[in-house]
Structures are given as C-alpha cells and as structure tokens.
Symmetry: C2
Subunit: 618 residues, 2 copies
C-alpha cells in the first residue's frame, strides 16, 4: 500500500504511541469499508481534498510557499498562519493516500512537498509569511500572534503522516530540520517564549515517536511546562485567552480560546504518555472531566463564546450563540483519543463518539465540500448573517481563516485510526464502523449499519478476545444475548459476536445550572443528537414546544438516508405585544403539531431557516 512499507515502524495513525494502556491500530490495521463513514471518506478523498487544493491556490497559500521558495516574486497573501492550512491539507492527503493509494494524489503530495522543502531556510526555519513579510530578522518577534510554531507543528504532523502512509521521507526531512532548528532556538538557556497557538507540542511528540529523537520530546515537554509562567503576559496580552494563566499541570479546567486550549491539552497528554508523567495525566483527566461536565454542549461542541472564540464560565452554554468551532471538536477528539490511549477508559470513547457524530460532523456538508466554522445549537428564523462565519449564511466553500476545512479533511482521512486499539490480550473496539480490524494474525470483520441500526456483528476465523465499548447511553445493550452494562467495555471471547445497542430515541434534559436551556429537552438516538429544522416542519420552529412522548424513528431517504424522528409538540403562545417583560404567567402552549427531527449533523443542507436542538417542554 505504501511506497516503502519497510520504513513504517509506528502505527499508521495519529498519536502512534506504544506507551499507553492501549495501542492504536492504524490505517491498514483498522479499515472502514462501508456503512456510515465510508461514503463520507470517499467524498472527502474524491471531492474535498482536490477542491481544497484549488482553494489553497485561490487563496494564495500555495503561492506564498512558492514565493518563499524563490519561485517568483511578490508579497505574502492572507493571514500569518496561512502555511498551516497547506500542511493540514498535506496531512489529509497523506492519510488519504494511506487509505486509498492513488498515483495522482501521491504526485500532488510530492510536488507540493518539493515546494515546501524549497521554501525552507538553510538553518531549518520555515514560515513563508514571516519570511516574505518580515525577513530573517522578523523571526519570533511576535510569537504570541505569529503562529510560527503553530505552522511548524502542522508541518511536522503532515510529515509524520506522510512517512507513515507513503513511506516518503521528503517532508520528514524538512520537519526534522525545522525541529532541530526549534531545539537549537528554544529552551531555558535559549529563547524563552511560547507560541500563542499550541499544536507544536503534539507535533514534536509525534516526531519523537517517528524518529526516536528524544530532543523533540524534551522540547515538547518544555513548551508544555513553559506555559503558565507569565510569558504571554510579559508580551502585554491576557494570558487566559492563550491558556497561559496557570501551568498546565495546575489547571483545573479549560479556558480561553477553545481550539488553543484543547490542542495544548492534547499535546500535554502526549507528553504525559511518553514520559509516564502520572501527575500531569491526572491533572489532564480532571481538566477533561471538568470541561465535559460544565463546558461542553450536548453535541460535544466546545467553546461557548464568539468573543475570543472561547470557553465560557461553568454552565455557560447558550445554544444560539454557541461558537463550538469545528476545529475545537477536532481538537477535543484528539485530546480524548490520547486520554483513551493513556487510560483505557471508555468514557473517552464515548466523548469521541459524541464529538464525532455531532459537533464535528455538523461542520461539513453532505457533499463534503462546504463547511461551518461555527456550530450553534439554535438558529432563529430571523437570524441575520452579520459576519462571514455566521451560520445564518449557510455553509461556505472556504473561509478567510480557513483552519476548519483542511482540519476536517485530515480527520476524515485518518478516521480509521480512531476505531480500535489492542492490549496484550485483547482488541478494543471503540467506534463501530463497517470494516476490517487486523491485529497480528487476527482479522475481525465488523458488519454494521450503525448509527442507523444498533446491531453490530463482529466475526473472525477463530475466537478472539474483544472488548467492546458500550456507550453510556446504551442501557439494555446485549452481547451475544447477554445484558452488558452501559458505560464501559464488555469483554467477550468469540469468533462470532453480536452486539445490540438499543437505539430507542431519548429525550434528555440538562443540569439545571445550564441556564440557557432551562425547561428544554433535546432528542437523541444512539450517538446522534437530533435537531428540528424549519424545512421539515409546518409549525414555527422558533416557537415550538415538545410533548413528553417518545419520538418514533423512521428510515427515510432524506439527507442521503437518515433515520428521521417524529415527535409531538405544541405551538407557542403567550407572545407579548410590545414590551416583552409583562405578566408572570407560566409559559402556555397552543395547538398540537407533529414535529420532525433530523440528525443535527445534517442540518443546513437544504435551506437555511430556524433550527433548534433544545426544545421547550410543552
């Protein structure tokens, strides 16, 4: 599959650690072949990745690198982090090649890699925008905003994916040269500074895993430990936004810019994994728990505030003004995955599933080529799209700040790597997708139409010890006819495994401290959170109440074939004329109406109108 498979020593997956309690099974070991995800990955490979390259060309990102490589003259275009989008695309392309080797794609990867290599400075430095705009003397002058390490991190991640999936070492050479330059430049006796936007931490640990060079791990550790000691504040910036208010191991929650926060936490988890730092790991467990119980949307979306693209205070989770950036869901998945590898705890698999099917997947259209940056849980019918990121615009083909689209691409093309792990005595299946899982001599075939159907059949030639994640919501699940507990792993040794996950639609309420959805319920079925969209409903969705009857599931052809839920509701009444704060009567409701709900991830694929995940109780 890869050009020179001999060179691939680590798992062909993101976070290919061997130190955790679980060992990842990479691409080629876990392979999605059908069901829910295969067509999404196919569209990602056939449409999104090619069109992504066109977008990078159009936006000037590729030209920046060419100019830095001396291939022409001109000025850098776009934001300071423009290179990172190219690297995320290269990473996506590498994983995609690993899934589905294609000569044309490989050639494109190689051509672009050659440009990147040519853009690199003699001493290993590389950042086309800084090179073009500020020259050598402009390096690291504004690291809090310049994203130079952020770009380096994404380059390294792309290089690691490239060597793992194509065997090509060309980008890895660039990455090690850049990493060596960083090692030579940053540290206690050198430049004491950190990038305003983490990601370099995860990247350096991966590069250490790939190369065995401990200096990379040491530098990752240094970047993690350097935070929280006033570096950002000394530059005159508010430290909370940059996760620099307290040392990572002393933090008790996440705060500030949500993508920065979860990328840093994921990098810290990588460091803890490789160094065996249990204190750091325990702190990260507490931080994740706190985030998950007080600062996460029901969709797994992260980040409650547009202002600063930030986490809010505890229980501050407005559905309408949810930021829930697509990249934050991706970073959340990355963090949870590392915690899963480190601890083996099923709760992280549950978290990944929730983020994956909801907060993440809502970020991309059914066609695979249009995106949401921001993923609210409510849009009013009267919403006005006042900014380019407003969901009231509908999905968009690209953004001025285009971090999300190539991030989605790399997540989809590496998704196989998140399905399963091994331990010495078992295979763990964390996400249920139709496909094949191979571990040593063992080959498991997974047959399922999950999440539409709760039946998962796992077969192998001989009995295999398998640990199946039973989601926390799956009360009543059975394995080979035996009841198993929800929220943990069910271990079974068999050649033929029949897992049944009950997909009865559920109405869920919220902790009453989440003020913004008081008196409301959301609808879930299996791992999917549902949404009520105006296009499916005759009653005004802005003002629709839900009756406490169980919704009825129904297969449909809608939206590429989803299970639609029918429920009963009532129209809203009690509207005030003029001044809206009068009278103290409780809410009343009007006529009974049918309510149709679709999976949240599929909203905004037909027309833009009112949408809500949380509906008031009738």
């Amino acid at each position: 599959m890869s050009a020179s498979p001999e060179t691939v020593t680590t798992s062909r997956s993101p976070a290919a650690t061997t130190k955790g309690r679980r060992h990842p099974l990479g691409l080629g070991q876990a392979t999605i072949t059908g069901g829910f995800w295969a067509p999404r990955q196919a569209r990602n490979g056939a449409d999104a990745i090619p069109s992504g390259q066109d977008q990078l060309e159009k936006a000037g990102n590729l030209q920046n690198l060419r100019l830095a490589a001396g291939l022409g003259e001109g000025e850098a275009i776009g934001p300071v982090f423009a290179d990172s989008d190219v690297y995320k695309w290269l990473e996506a392309a590498a994983w995609e090649y690993g899934r589905n080797p294609d000569d044309d794609l490989l050639q494109r990867i190689r051509d672009l890699t050659a440009v990147v290599a040519a853009a690199q400075r003699e001493d290993g430095y590389l950042d086309s925008v800084v090179q073009l705009r500020y020259g050598d003397e402009g390096r690291y002058q504004q690291l809090v905003w310049s994203h130079e390490h952020y770009c380096a991190g994404h380059l390294i991640q792309a290089a690691v994916a490239q060597v793992r999936c194509t065997g090509d070492r060309a980008l890895l050479d660039v990455a090690t040269k850049l990493a060596d330059h960083l090692v030579a430049t940053f540290g206690d006796d050198k430049t004491v500074d950190v990038d305003g936007h983490p990601v370099i931490e995860m990247a350096l640990v991966e590069l250490y895993r790939e190369t065995g060079t401990t200096a990379y791990l040491d530098l990752a550790k240094w970047f993690v430990e350097a935070r929280g000691h006033g570096i950002i504040e000394r530059h005159g910036h508010s430290p909370a936004y940059f996760s620099d208010r307290v040392p990572v191991r002393e933090a008790t929650s996440v705060e500030g810019h949500s993508v920065r926060a979860v990328y840093l936490a994921a990098g810290a988890a990588d460091v803890a994994l490789e160094t065996g730092d249990s204190e750091l790991l325990d702190s990260l467990k507490s931080q994740f728990d706190h985030m998950w119980s007080t600062k996460t949307y029901v969709t797994g979306g992260l980040g409650a505030r547009w202002e600063g693209e930030a986490f809010g205070d505890e229980y501050e989770l407005p559905p309408d003004r949810a930021y829930a950036e697509t990249c934050a869901a991706i970073g959340g998945i990355q963090w949870a995955w590392r915690m899963l590898l480190a601890t083996g705890e099923a709760a992280y698999g549950d978290a990944i599933e929730r983020m994956l099917y909801n907060g993440f997947l809502a970020g991309v259209s059914l066609t695979g080529t249009e995106y949401f940056y921001v993923n609210p849980l409510q849009l009013r019918g009267s919403a006005y799209p006042d900014t380019g990121r407003s969901p009231a615009h509908g999905r968009r083909g690209w953004f001025d700040c285009a971090c999300c689209p190539p991030n989605i691409m790399r997540t989809l093309s590496s998704l196989d790597g998140y399905l399963a792990t091994t331990t010495d005595d078992a295979v763990q299946i964390h996400q249920y997708a139709a496909g094949v899982i191979t571990s040593g001599d063992v080959e498991l075939t997974v047959d399922t139409n999950y999440p539409w159907d709760g039946s998962v059949r796992i077969t192998s030639a001989t009995p295999v010890a398998v640990e199946l994640r039973i989601p926390g919501w799956a009360d009543g699940a059975t394995v080979n006819g035996q009841p198993v507990e929800a929220g943990g792993y069910a271990r079974v040794e068999a050649a033929d495994i029949d897992l049944q996950l009950p997909l009865t639609p559920r109405l869920v309420g919220a902790d009453p401290r989440i003020d913004a959805v008081r008196g409301c319920v959301a609808i879930e079925r299996g791992p999917l959170v549902y949404a009520v969209e105006q296009v499916d409903n005759t009653a005004n969705v802005d003002d629709l109440h839900l009756l406490p009857e169980a919704p009825v599931a129904q297969d449909s052809e809608l939206l590429d074939g989803v299970t639609v839920l029918s429920a009963r509701g009532r129209t809203g009444t009690g509207h005030r004329e003029g001044w809206p704060f009068t009278g103290d009567a409780e809410d009343s409701t009007g006529d009974e109406v049918e309510v149709t709900a679709i999976p949240y991830y599929a909203w905004a694929n037909r027309e833009i109108g009112a949408m809500r995940v949380w509906l008031p109780r009738a």
Copy 2:
C-alpha cells in the same frame, strides 16, 4: 447663574428643539433639588468630574491635545477617539456648571477650552490623534475607523452645552469653525464618506439649533441619508456593524454595534424633528418599537453580544453574556428623549425611566467614581474575569476605551433637562424627582422620595395644567384620589397635585420567545428592576429558584439606603454528576429559603459574587 445669560436663547438642555410636540425645559427651568438623584448629581460634580479630569490626564488624552496645540513634543497616546473623552468631559463640566456654578470649574473649562482651540488647525480641522500620528495628509483616510467625525460631534455637543450653561462662546467658535470645515468637505459634490461611529448627526443638529446655520442641519441630514448606500462596504467592511446596511429610513430594526446604532437613530430623530420629515420619524418609531419589543433587556440594557458590541437577533437576550454597554443605555435615553419631544408619547418616557434607573445607573458605583462598561443581568459565582471589561473584575476607575465614564458624567449633570416639557397649555412631567419646575410664570415644586416611595406631591401658587406620565407598570395609580390609567399621561389642573404610584413589588415573566430566560421571573418595584446578589443570600445564587409569592418591601440602610425586597425561594437540585445532559425529569428544587433582592443598579458595590436578575420559578 451663567456668565452672560442674555446669550442663551435655546433651552439649556440637550436636544433643545422648538419643533417637537413637546418643548424641553432645560437646566434652571427644571431643577433637581433632593430625593434620589440630587446626591448622585452632587457626587458626580464633586468627585466624578474632578477625578475624570485626572484620569484624562493620566491616560494621555489631555496631553494629546496639548501636543497638537504645539505645547510640547511627543506622540499621540491611546485610541484614535481619545479626544472624544475630553469633549464628553467638557460637556459634563458645562452642564455641571449650569447646575451649580463654580468658579474653579469654570476656570478649568476655560483652560481646557483654550488648549482645544489651540489644537485646531487653521482650516478648522481638529483631531489631535490624527494630526499627531498622520498629519494633514492623514485626514479622513480611514473615516470608517478613525472616529474623526465622532470626535467632532462630541466637541460640538460640548460647545453647545458650554454656551448654553456658561455663556462662553470660546468652544462654540472652535465648533463652528470645525463644522464649517466639515460642511466644506463632505457632501454630494465633495467627499462622499461617513464616520464609522455616528454622533456627528445629533451634534450638527444641536449646533444648528444654537446658531441657526442651516448648513449644519443640511450636513446632518446628508450624513443620515448617506448611510445605507454602500459607503462602508466599499471600504471593505461589514455594513451591519456600522448601521450602514440599509438607508436609515428603510430600516425596520436596530442592528450591529449598539452604541453606533442608537446614536445614529437619535441623530436621525433630530433631523426628523427639525425638518418635519414625518416619514423618517415614522420609520424611527417602528425601529424603536422593534428594538424595545425584541432587543431590549428588562433593565433597558441594549446590546446582546460581546462580539461586535452588538444587538443580537430578535429575542436573543442572554442575561449572562448581555453586553448592555453603559453608553448604549445613554444613547437609548437620548434617542427616546428625541422621540418623546417629537411625538409626545408617554411610552418614550417609560423607556427613559427604565433605562435610567437600571441599564444606565448600573454603570456607575454608589461612590460615583467607578464604572461598568458592560452590564450583564447574571454573573455566576465561578465567573472568571478574562478581559478588562469583564464585570467579574468589579467596577473600575477607568478603561482603556473610556467612552462610558464621561458619558455617565454628562448624563448625570444634564439630567434635569429630561424631567419635564411644556406645550402651549400644559407642563408635562416625565420623570419624578424632587425639585422645582419653572415655565414662564409658573413654578411647580415637586416633592417626592420616588422611587422608594410612590407618592409625588406637586404644588404651585395657582392651579396649573400638568400632564403626569403614568408609567405602564403603574396599575392602580391615582391623581388627587382619582384612578388614572397606566401607560399615558394623566392631565390635571390644580395647585396641589397628589400622584400616587403603586409600588407593590411585581414578578414579571418574559415573552416565551426570549429563550434565555425561559421559566424565569424577574422582580420589579416601581421603575426599579431588582437583582439577587450572593452577598445578601445564604443559598447559592447560581442555583436559586423563586416561589411565586409577592416579595415584601422593606426600607433599609443598605447601599446608601434602598428598599430591599424579601422573597421566598428554593435551592436548586437535580444536579448531574459528570455529563450534564441526562435524564428527562423536569427541574426539581430543594429547601425553602429566604431570598433578598436589591435594586439592580446597586449591585457590585460591596463584593463581586453571583448575581442574577432572572430567577427560575421554584
């Protein structure tokens, strides 16, 4: 009272129009002498205005003007709109002199005026920051952001206040020279551009009122009409933020930056008033109604979003993330006042009262010298102050962007001007404050301890026709023992008037479309909205529910003497462990507890802790 009272031909009040259905009674005609407002005005004059000048010195605003005047060398400091804070202070000082003439204050006004005059360029241009940073060639190059007209507007308003209250024409000479320069520079055949931040519209109309120069009115009209025709968009900016998406007369609501929006609307109302443009006035009525019914907090606070300091969509009114900038409440009062003058409708008086006692007054501490920029209706106990404007910091003595403090000062020192108006046959009293109202030969003495007490006694030597605003909330009000209807004016002709406004505490709910406060009630008494603050309560305020019993009012010494309300509530239960979206049970509550509420305006004067205006129903 004023140095040369003969020169004052207009009412000594803001918006001294003679064209409306109501004629304002300015300072000296309406005078607050006691009760609720007098000590606030006294502290404003004695403490806030002097300390404001010190703050302007410390922040560099005054030095900028000195440098522009050639008194020293150096670079401009602070934001581009730095001059405007000086002008707002000068305006505040002028009204304060009008209230309470003081030689020292007059000297300070004159000294500072001399600096401003010296900083003005030969051709009338004046903006110290632009002059120092960009020179003559930098003028109007970035009008969308440069605030040059905004600064000019505040200068003109200060000049008008100065001539009205001191008789001094020095600043008026600067203002007319600057206005003449603007007239010569902007218009259809000249520079077609508008300032990103309105205020010049109101200012030019006032200058027209003061001078009779119709060119100023014409230019104000031109600035109003120029908006909404793509000027901002041509500069590459989003027009909604700047109220430039549609022509003012075609707008159906307010949108974008809330202060900019209401300042523009107030200026348009001034234009409509002076030109008799009933179409424009009708449009502004609709816009105000729409704002008031769908985009205003129960406190009268305006602006639901931190991002862009903006109005949200209809019914988007989160209490915790309310921006509700103090300046927006001030702009809202200015707009409503002009609408009241134009239409004579009591609803605008009601709106002014609500904004004044709540959204505005919360912006200043009891001491008068510490301020809130942002005025949320909820603060969680765990809130983290991640920005300088965060209310979780508590009130602050000044801000980097210091628009609010001097705006509060000028509002308090000109407050007398908002109390009363006249028509040919009556005096209208819009706001109830202890004081004296003089109109021609008539002198009315108003005796009241409102808003603590609902009794207002108005006496005069002979019977006078008085129209008393009966607030919309005042069901059961009586005038001289006769029931009068709430929400309108009650006309009475007598020498001794006894108005009784019932101050029974009220629980109010919200239109159910305001999702963020579903299932909650707020407590009001008279014009005051109440808040529950942690410092007064043993139960956790974050999680406190209110029982539907009428709160009991009790005089207290707290907070300079407020009426405290005692209510009954219940603690919250139903907290989830870990993942917060489980179970579909409705909210439950625990132990019954006493709840103490204080006027919202007085919160955050003791310690910073949890606070909420809206409490869930127990």
